[in-house]
């Protein structure tokens, strides 16, 4: 009696998987279609006359390597920044008592809920005054701190029993050593997973970079897609899909490698 009911739910879940995966298949299949096929034979996932033309055209028209490098640079800077500030802040909260600690913590947590638009204009002006427009650093600088990182690290650090830290203190191991040789190694799994999530999100970011990066040579991959949405000349859909497919390669690799970490660490960010 139990067996039949079970399949019903699986049917629903598989439909959701199809909904999640089909657009990806559609994207990849269109990246191998000719422009005429993408209009003519919309429905068949297997291209009628598959071609590699979009990828070679893409490489000729746009400096793929340069774009990927810009995106990689930005994503790495943002990730390293967020990890560093997250770790240091969490450690401060974890092992010290000081005046106004709760207040400062609440301020940090509330930054998650600040809408991006309220800091948009002033940050834009700051970056342009610092002459960092069209510069990857200009994009990365305002994003070097993320409260989610602080929360996750704090939660994982709270799991470290005080006895461990006290034991180290008794052997008068200096603070710095405690931080790097005890705290960080224990946090390695959550550092890896949080880092992977920060990297992927920053890799795919579109809104803030569009305000800062105006010159094609400084574009990141999501912005390069704009090149192909120009309505004046008509959208070259297959070309855009080729770029989209290339864009997801690195996040997919990171996901496959760290998938176990990522899926578990997301739980920490939520657990109250």
């Amino acid at each position: 009696m139990l067996k039949k009911k079970l399949n019903l739910w699986h049917v629903l879940l598989i439909i959701i998987i199809l909904g999640a995966i089909f657009p990806i298949l559609f994207m990849v299949s269109n990246s191998f279609k000719t422009l005429r096929d993408s209009y003519g034979t919309m429905l068949n996932l297997i291209p009628l006359h598959p071609t590699f033309e979009n990828y070679s055209l893409l490489n000729k028209q746009v400096n793929l390597l340069g774009l990927t490098w810009n995106t990689f640079l930005m994503a790495t800077m943002v990730t390293v920044g967020k990890l560093l500030t997250g770790l240091l802040t969490a450690y401060a909260f974890r092992s010290y008592q000081f005046k106004g600690k709760m207040l400062i913590y609440l301020i940090f947590v509330s930054t998650i809920f600040v809408p991006f638009t309220i800091v948009m204009i002033p940050n834009y002006l700051v970056i342009s005054k610092l002459n960092l427009l069209n510069n990857i650093i200009g994009v990365a600088l305002p994003q070097l701190c993320d409260a989610t990182g602080i929360m996750i690290f704090l939660k994982t650090m709270e799991k470290i029993p005080n006895s461990l830290i006290d034991a180290a203190k008794i052997d008068n191991i200096p603070n710095r050593k405690i931080f790097f040789n005890i705290v960080v190694p224990i946090l390695k799994p959550s550092i890896v997973s949080v880092g992977a999530i920060f990297f992927i999100n920053s890799w795919n970011e579109y809104v803030w970079p569009t305000l800062i990066l105006k010159d094609k040579s400084s574009f990141t991959l999501p912005l390069a897609l704009q090149n192909y949405i120009s309505s004046e000349g008509g959208t070259n859909f297959p070309l855009a899909m080729a770029l989209s497919t290339i864009m997801v390669v690195l996040p997919l690799i990171i996901y496959l490698i760290f998938q176990k970490y990522i899926l578990n660490s997301i739980s920490n960010s939520g657990l109250k």
Binding site: Y228, G233, G234, T235
Partner: protein, 425 residues
């Protein structure tokens, strides 16, 4: 004692990190005599981007003392204008830039620039270059409301009616019946009744260029004496005609990208849009596509606003201006102008280029260009309002959206006109 050691190290780390961050952004100063000028344009990869890069590369190779770097601005002329505004806020303006016709007055009244006539007088000593290459009509496109020449016309385009010949022949509609909007409506009705497909799609990008064309071809004026005048009977009549086609499903009302996709897919028989779409349609359509001249209402003659942009010199320092002027003149040479036209699908701006054999053979290969060249003769400057140009354009776009989703034409157009005129005091 051990804590202070930690403090020193962390402090040092902090300073070092800050230093690295700021080092990356020092001013690039090049002492050599090579003049660096920046050229802003709106040509995405799919629409002339490659042509711009070729031209700039050819120029840099042949001119040792000037180095041009081209900068692409997304979201067409509106996007470029926004970037120009932000650039001026941070004090780093380009040396030479494309300016969309719609922003002619807005550009002239908000930004510091050098007129072509001053540049010719200061650097050539005479006006020969301008008078020799441009007709009175084309120059008129680039004049502001006070008649001052702001820049030199660079890309010219006119709206044309792209047609799906297979559909037309299927429902035996003769091409010449489509020279008037009434003929188009009739054809659309026949197609819609028999196939359920849409007859017509009129482009709806981030400007009302095509819609202005319909009103002008119904005898209306968009602007008179610096004031908006499109809410006249003729203007309202034209828009009502268009609205009626949309509500009775003869014409399709949807954003530009989707509309053009539907035409290329064969779900819409005719598309009234810029000639610049020609190469894309030719490459993607799997039906027999061609183009005919922009239609007019019965009893009126075809009048269309010119599309495209002009080149304006925004460099402030005279050395930069000189280099920009030289680059501009080189861009107008026949072969450069034809390459530009081939790459973007626009019409070449100068007389010599229009009559050059290279361009003639190109038109023979791409017959769709022919109607566009003919319509050039009945093109008028694109109306751009002197004050708050961005908001004026937005008001007309909003009016279009409201009308096409059913609101009363007369009151909506009237309200938009008053809103614009309130700003023009």
């Amino acid at each position: 004692m051990k804590n202070s050691k930690l403090k020193k190290i962390l402090l040092m780390l902090g300073i070092m990190a800050m230093a690295v961050v700021f080092a990356g952004c020092g001013k690039k100063t090049s002492a050599s005599t090579v003049k660096h000028i920046t050229y802003w344009h709106v040509n995405a990869q799919t629409q002339g981007g490659a042509a711009v890069d070729d031209l700039v590369k050819k120029f840099n190779d042949t001119h040792k003392n000037i180095k041009v770097t081209a900068k692409y601005n997304p979201d067409m002329y509106k996007g470029l204008m926004q970037n120009l505004q932000s650039a001026q806020a941070s004090g780093k303006v380009p040396d030479i830039t494309q300016v969309g016709w719609a922003y002619d007055n807005y550009f002239a009244s908000n930004f510091k620039y050098m007129t072509p006539t001053d540049a010719a007088k200061k650097f050539d000593g005479n006006n020969k270059f301008i008078d020799g290459n441009f007709t009175k009509r084309t120059l008129s496109f680039a004049k502001d409301s006070k008649g001052k020449l702001v820049g030199l016309p660079y890309s010219l385009s006119t709206p044309v009616l792209f047609i799906n010949k297979d559909i037309l022949s299927k429902y035996n509609i003769k091409e010449d019946s489509l020279s008037t909007w009434e003929g188009i409506k009739e054809a659309s009705k026949k197609i819609h009744d028999q196939s359920g497909k849409y007859g017509l799609y009129i482009q709806e990008p981030g400007d009302t260029w095509a819609q202005q064309g319909i009103m002008l071809s119904h005898g209306a004026d968009i602007q008179k004496g610096g004031k908006a005048a499109f809410a006249s009977d003729n203007g309202v009549g034209a828009y009502k005609y268009y609205q009626e086609m949309v509500t009775s499903k003869l014409a399709l009302h949807t954003p530009w990208a989707q509309g053009m996709d539907s035409f290329v897919k064969g779900d819409v028989a005719m598309a009234f849009t810029t000639i610049a779409q020609a190469s894309h349609i030719k490459k993607s359509a799997s039906f027999n596509a061609s183009a005919i001249a922009a239609p007019h209402f019965e009893g009126h003659k075809t009048v269309v606003p010119v599309g495209g942009s002009m080149l304006a010199i925004t460099a402030q320092d005279s050395e930069q201006q000189k280099a920009a002027w030289e680059f501009e003149k080189w861009m107008y040479k026949a072969d450069a102008a034809v390459t530009w036209s081939k790459g973007t699908g626009y019409l070449p701006p100068t007389k010599v280029a229009l009559e050059s054999s290279a361009f003639k053979d190109y038109v023979k290969e791409n017959p769709m260009l022919d109607p566009a060249v003919k319509t050039l003769d009945n093109a008028v400057p694109w109306t751009s309002f002197p004050k708050k140009g961005l908001q004026a354009e937005q008001a007309m776009i909003d009016a279009r959206d409201k009308i096409l989703s059913g609101s009363d034409v007369k009151s909506t157009l009237g309200a938009a006109q008053d809103k614009i005129n309130a700003e023009q005091k």
